[in-house]
């Protein structure tokens, strides 16, 4: 497949979707480069699934432009979808067919004739070879999810789109999916767009992250920038927060200091937390708790939830070369 010299797999410009008076996606623009694991973050109802469905032609945009592999989606849909594999929300397949039969059926619809051995290899990859000929109706949610991913991969697509792939999975299932995504990216060099409402999930796998809320882009940047350990926020709770704040202001920690209603906040490198703890004890501050929080997590919660239950540090630096806040 030919695509542009920048090897942008997905390019979205000014995407908008209205359902009656509701604007589900509002002037959204982003791009995904080849080989990225692109984390698409937002609370439930933020517009992630609507955007993903527009990328897969399940929903028609009200306005805006979508290009995949350098081709306009509206006019070259079939050609594009031959190179895309997707799992959208629940991985629903035909319960009255076996895993093998489902895989074979969707392989044919994807335009490829896959041999028995290849189908079994695919099932092996997603850990379902032993249950290949069992009806899907007997499968657990995790097994269905893995079969869904198997179906998404069966025609060897370049782009994998996974919408909330860990929904309803137990911790082991979540870890399996995470490892599979990493394998797809690192070993098979696939481009993966994965959506989630859980930052912790995206943090572990994404190379680039987009956060949306109410259909609008909030922040987009490389994971290395957004998840920079130097931007850890530590919340200090003391018996007397005002006194703690005064003492810290007179110390070498003054530059990292911020105060809010509930306690004292410091922005610092994660590695400096033990030293901070020592200094707090040395200053005889009656410490109640010392809680490191990821700066982006605070930010994510603050910007994507109506109630500001965390008074977070706002990082002006987050607007940098690779990163933008809208």
């Amino acid at each position: 497949m030919l695509y542009t010299m920048m090897q942008q797999i997905i390019q979205v410009e000014g995407l908008r979707k209205e359902f009656g008076s509701l604007t589900a996606v509002n002037n959204l623009s982003f791009s995904v480069a080849q080989g990225d694991v692109y984390g698409f973050l937002g609370q439930n109802g933020a517009g992630k699934s609507t955007t993903i469905r527009m990328l897969l032609t399940l929903i028609a945009p009200t306005s805006g432009k979508i290009e995949l592999f350098g081709m306009p989606l509206s006019s070259r849909r079939k050609e594009i979808l031959r190179n895309v594999g997707a799992v959208i929300e629940k991985p629903d397949v035909y319960k009255y067919l076996s895993a093998y039969e489902n895989l074979k059926l969707f392989a044919r619809l994807s335009g490829v004739r896959v041999q028995h051995g290849q189908l079994m290899d695919q099932l092996e990859m997603v850990g379902l070879a032993q249950r290949a000929h069992d009806k899907v109706g007997t499968f657990s949610q995790g097994m269905k999810q893995r079969l869904g991913i198997g179906i998404a991969l069966v025609h060897n697509p370049q782009l994998i789109v996974l919408d909330e792939p860990t929904n309803g999975l137990d911790p082991q299932g979540i870890a399996d999916i995470r490892n599979l995504i990493l394998r797809l990216s690192r070993e098979m060099h696939k481009t993966v767009l994965v959506s989630s409402h859980l930052l912790s999930e995206i943090e572990q796998i994404a190379t680039k992250v987009l956060i949306i809320d109410k259909g609008k882009k909030i922040v987009e940047g490389t994971a290395s920038t957004l998840f920079d350990p130097a931007k850890t926020v530590v919340e200090v709770q003391a018996l007397d927060n005002e006194e703690a704040f005064r003492l810290l202001q007179e110390s070498t920690w003054a530059g990292a200091l911020q105060q809010n209603r509930k306690g004292v906040l410091l922005q610092l490198d994660r590695q400096l937390i033990p030293q901070l703890h020592k200094d707090l004890v040395a200053m005889n501050i009656a410490l109640v708790s010392l809680q490191p929080r990821h700066s982006l997590e605070d930010y994510f919660l603050r910007v994507t939830t109506g109630n500001q239950h965390v008074d977070a540090w706002q990082d002006e630096n987050i607007v940098s070369g690779d990163t933008q806040i809208n």
Binding site: L56, L58, A60, R77, A86, P91, V93, Y96
Partner: protein, 291 residues
């Protein structure tokens, strides 16, 4: 398109629900055949009571051809429900299962998708009718033998010679296929507006019931719309058994009393199929898949 069509057929015939209709038809026809086998003579005597005073009727009144006619009269009213079970589930069932969104992320055109699904529903409809034909006609011929067919109409009786019957059944089943495909097209069209099967199945039957009532009521207001209702034309298969007579009131072999009516009914049904399928394509192409 052919691959889509094949996969749709594969899915239809792998679903247990598909065979409910075949089982129901087998049970219904067997019951009628059993009843006529056991008490056929009494039934014939009752039906022919008035005519026996006027005519001398020889031969087997209850023969395979006659039984098939009885079965068709009874059954073709109920077959639409069995057709709706599958046709009205074609899109809504996929939406309900969640497979519609997965299917449409594959490199298949929406028009192709709809047409392949409709063709598969049509094949199911035709196979159901073939099954009716096998049981109602061929099994009845085997069980009851063959003879001339004697039919009572509203104000007259028709005798069709044994050698002149088979092609009429071929035509009647062909017409029934067109009528049932119209039902399938209606169910298929309604299937797009719901995310569960029950709604479209009930809606399809409701439309058929309402239109049938309108078709049969002799009220001047409804008379104007009757010619345009597909239900008015669905029973036109019986025209194949209305035979022209000569001046001596003898039936003329190989003729139909009112072929124009048959052609008109076929065209009306065909138009309905095209309209329902065309509307299905139009709606589906614009549909946002939110299931």
């Amino acid at each position: 398109m052919f691959t889509l069509f094949q996969t749709e057929l594969y899915k239809i015939f792998r679903r247990p629900r598909t065979y409910i209709a075949f089982a129901a038809i087998t049970a219904l026809i067997t019951i009628v055949q059993l009843g006529l086998k056991m008490d056929g003579k009494e039934y014939a005597a009752f039906v022919m009571a008035d005519l026996n005073n006027t005519f001398q009727i020889d031969g087997k009144i209850i023969n395979g051809y006659f039984v098939c006619y009885v079965v068709l009269q009874l059954l073709l009213v109920h077959v639409p429900l069995l057709i709706a079970l599958i046709a009205a589930d074609m899109i809504s069932g996929e939406a309900n299962m969640g497979t519609l969104r997965l299917l449409l992320t594959k490199p298949v055109g929406r028009t192709e998708f709809i047409l392949a699904k409709f063709l598969a529903a049509t094949v199911y409809t035709l196979l159901l009718l073939v099954w009716v034909a096998v049981l109602a006609l061929f099994v009845s011929m085997w069980l009851f033998g063959t003879d001339d067919m004697f039919l009572l109409k509203n104000s007259y009786a028709v005798q069709i010679e044994r050698v002149d019957i088979f092609w009429r059944y071929a035509g009647a089943f062909g017409f029934a296929a067109l009528a049932m495909t119209t039902v399938a097209a209606l169910g298929f069209f309604l299937s797009q507006f719901a995310e569960n099967s029950i709604g479209p199945i009930v809606a399809t039957m409701s439309v058929i019931i309402v239109c049938t009532i309108l078709s049969t009521m002799s009220i001047p207001l409804f008379n104007k719309i009757k010619p345009y209702l597909f239900t008015t034309h669905m029973v036109a298969w019986k025209e194949f058994f209305d035979v022209k007579v000569n001046d001596s009131n003898e039936t003329i072999r190989g003729t139909i009393q009112n072929p124009d009516k048959l052609i008109r009914s076929s065209l009306v049904l065909f138009f309905h199929i095209v309209a329902f399928v065309g509307a299905s394509v139009y709606v589906f192409k614009k549909k946002d898949v939110l299931s």
